[in-house]
């Protein structure tokens, strides 16, 4: 699902954005998220600066999620479980 926005100052257009909740999926097993807007319709006036910024964002977002984050989520899960147990 796309979002229409003025994404930069060189033009506007429709693209499925990383900002859009309906976009990318996080696969915790693989630890990777599929970038949400890579396959989207690109703005015909999409400038190279915005493209480079988006590429930088996506390259980080597509990195495997470090184990530290998974450990943190485990802690949160434990708290949720504890809440359920005592409720």
């Amino acid at each position: 699902m796309g979002i229409t926005t003025n994404c930069g100052l060189s033009g506007s257009g429709t693209f499925p954005s990383a900002w859009n909740d309906g976009g990318g999926q996080l696969d915790m097993k693989k630890g990777k998220r599929q970038a949400s807007h890579l396959g989207g319709a690109m703005d015909p006036e999409f400038d190279s600066l915005t493209a480079a910024l988006r590429q930088m964002h996506d390259s980080i977002a597509n990195e495997p999620v470090p184990n530290d984050f998974l450990d943190l989520l485990d802690q949160i899960d434990a708290k949720i479980s504890a809440t359920k147990k005592f409720s």
Partner: protein
């Protein structure tokens, strides 16, 4: 507490957790863009998640969760930046040297050049470039996260783009001469007078 109320609360916690998991990649990317350091960025993102979880009962379901999380991360960044000298900070002298060195013009912009150049920008421009330019946030969302007016967001985005382009491609007269640079920013802003996106 009534059993039904407890179930609702547990479901809310599960939803909150799910939304936070989905945001991890974007949080990491925004944090990396802000501080320019992988380890520090991940620390920032995790700290923001912990703070968000600690305050999850204060979040109003149905409001913009992503903006709320990014706001927490941003606040954490500025708090940490004040305490930590390793954080990237605006270095006008370094930026000036880069402007004067004037690398050859290139049509294609390399991602690593953008990363390096971003570190030279003031944080208030960097965060807007990361939110709107890199992450695709609307002006309204960026304004909500940064606590600025939409006009300020547009101005910082325009100035950030001009500065970033100058750092990457080298100076031109429009960037080095302040009056011309201002005109260039106004020209950029005038291209998009209406910031309202249609979803």
């Amino acid at each position: 507490m009534e059993p039904q109320a407890k179930t609702v609360k547990q479901d809310a916690s599960d939803d909150f957790r799910s939304q936070m998991v989905a945001l991890i990649p974007s949080l990491r990317a925004f944090a990396r863009g802000l501080c320019g350091n992988r380890e520090l960025a991940d620390d920032l993102a995790q700290e923001a998640m912990m703070r968000a979880w600690a305050a999850h009962e204060s979040f109003t379901p149905g409001t913009n969760f992503r903006a709320w999380m990014f706001m927490i991360l941003r606040n954490q960044f500025y708090t940490t930046m004040r305490k930590n000298s390793r954080m990237t900070s605006w270095d006008p002298e370094a930026a000036e040297r880069l402007l004067v060195e004037a690398p050859p013009q290139q049509h294609h912009i390399h991602m690593t050049d953008v990363e390096k150049a971003l570190k030279k920008l003031p944080a208030e421009q960097r965060e807007i470039l990361m939110l709107v330019g890199a992450g695709g946030a609307s002006y309204e969302e960026a304004a909500e996260i940064t606590g600025c007016a939409i006009g300020t967001v547009k101005s910082r985005l325009a100035r950030g783009r001009v500065a970033l382009a100058a750092l990457i491609n080298g100076p031109d007269e429009a960037v080095l001469k302040k009056p011309s640079a201002s005109k260039r920013v106004r020209d950029e802003m005038s291209k998009h007078p209406d910031p309202t996106p249609s979803i």
